[in-house]
Symmetry: C2
Subunit: 319 residues, 2 copies
């Protein structure tokens, strides 16, 4: 059987040109560019909790980096360096080859170098730490929303939750929508380019991992403001039409997790610039509500302006 050191050498030691020193010493060494603040995030993915046993290794490699890229995007930071800790039940080389392929594939597209990590034996667990740079003072924080800001969402939410509901047998989604929803769940596309473009335009931002309304709630709590959200304005994803239970589908849109869209707030005078960003990136940006003064609560409103009940809150690992 290949040793721990062989495995690291074979699968996780590609050159890291942006580092002073990459994989293979006690620490990796990197140099931040002058004037840059470092943004750091970490996420752990566990079999049985964050992904189903038997999930495609290439998609896992992709997703384990994607969820961290999404956090950096939500901060307006440009990704630079990743560290990967991997616990594996056994040294399965075809699994490792596919996982590394998914990881490095996304890393290469996003300008990330893998600079270090840890490989060990245990129940399948993946922990990625990602470090990026953002010009000092320009990070997009959760606490910056201002009364009067528009509330925006990129792309559309809900497909990841629809995919999970399909895989767990709660609903049946027909092809080709089924594959789209499952790909969204297993291999989400982080909004890296959008995050960088929002610097100087958005007042606050978060990525939608717990659910659109739950993550909006985090912005409201930290900004000390409320929100009106127009339910009819929330974009519906393509996969939603394939779902017989439209109430459940809407719940996935407003409250499903794992979509990794960016939810952000910006003053109304930024609308023109945001239209340019949307066109440049080929990515829909939709205005779904407004920040208002008051208690940190999101009120969901129908087309007539009437308050309607909010579907179940987002995902919490310990509830």
């Amino acid at each position: 059987m290949a040793s721990e050191f062989d495995l690291i050498k074979r699968y996780f030691s590609r050159p890291a040109p942006s580092a002073v020193l990459g994989v293979g010493d006690d620490c990796a060494l990197v140099q931040a560019r002058p004037g840059m603040t470092l943004a750091m995030t970490t996420d752990m993915l566990l079999e049985g909790t964050h992904f189903r046993a038997g999930t495609d290794a290439r998609r896992l490699g992709h997703k384990s980096l994607a969820v961290n890229l999404s956090d950096l995007a939500a901060m307006g930071a440009d990704p630079r360096w990743a560290l990967l800790s991997l616990a594996l039940p056994r040294a399965d080389e075809s699994w490792l080859d596919a996982f590394a392929g998914g990881f490095y594939g996304l890393a290469g597209r996003c300008g990330v170098d893998l600079i270090g990590g840890d490989t060990t034996r245990g129940p399948l667990a993946i922990s990625v730490t990602l470090i990026g740079e953002v010009p000092a003072g320009l990070a997009l924080r959760r606490d910056g929303a201002q009364a009067g800001d528009d509330i925006w969402i990129s792309g559309a939410t809900g497909e990841a939750a629809l995919g999970l509901a399909h895989l767990s047998g709660r609903i049946d989604i027909v092809e080709p929508f089924r594959s789209g929803c499952i790909e969204r769940l297993e291999a989400p596309e982080p909004r890296v380019d959008l995050g960088g473009r929002l610097r100087g335009l958005a007042n606050s931002a978060i990525d939608v991992s717990d659910g659109l309304l739950a993550d909006l709630g985090h912005i409201l709590e930290q900004s000390g403001a409320g929100a009106d959200v127009w339910v009819e304005q929330i974009p519906r994803p393509p996969g939603m039409v394939a779902c017989a239970d439209q109430a459940l589908a809407l719940e996935c849109v407003t409250s499903g997790g794992d979509d990794y869209e960016l939810l952000f707030t910006a003053p109304p005078h930024a609308r023109g610039d945001l239209a340019v960003v949307s066109a440049d990136l080929g990515l829909a940006l939709t205005r779904i509500g407004s920040i208002v003064a008051g208690e940190p609560v999101a009120v969901l409103r129908d087309a007539g302006g009437n308050s309607i009940p909010v579907p179940r809150p987002g995902f919490d690992h310990f509830r």
Copy 2:
């Protein structure tokens, strides 16, 4: 039951004065000091692989940070910021309180701020990423050993492996040595101050996590040099006298893992400065051999200079 967000708020949200932004946003934000290179390391500890079920939570909190502090020390870097990912089978508040106490206790002594992380449900797993700073060009790398360098070890190795051998019933160590060995295994003291003092003195360094000879092997491979090690010069730890099987005890000293001493090489003209460092820190530094030109192999020699067999190599998770 407390929610994920409550747990993070209650146990892992102490102020992080050295950060621009600590726990609670998509990313943490930090600012490196001018002229500093960043050193980054990550380690994952799993129940059943790295520690026994039922290990004291306070010691686990301490150790999960200590192993990373040791990597930074081996690089000559000053620790600054930590990220913690924690998978827990359940939200056990007394366990969390003790774990956080052990983690923050060591962090406070070493100038580390916890700036972010992730809490999730799953089999007990702890992943810590630690970031430090080292003046540009002064990092202690594994590839810097030069023929003629002295080989040094801090403190003494072997007690962690003796503690593990006792706990697993292979040997019996009497008190008070038993407690010392088990404490060494479960709550090692990283050589943080020594790492900083070795900048400009040592040519190469590594921390002893896999075993003294195995870790020396990493220096030799990366430096392209060999070594003569005088077995009689290798310091014996206090706990060794309490072990009836002296051959096994010596194997623990030369090849046992988890000691987190620093193994380093330095030119002979640094001996005087190293004596001062040793006295200042109250920490033994012992010269155990020399780097020699040739194949990257450590030859163990007895007092007469004769080559003797090398005990089993260090720990490898996948062998």
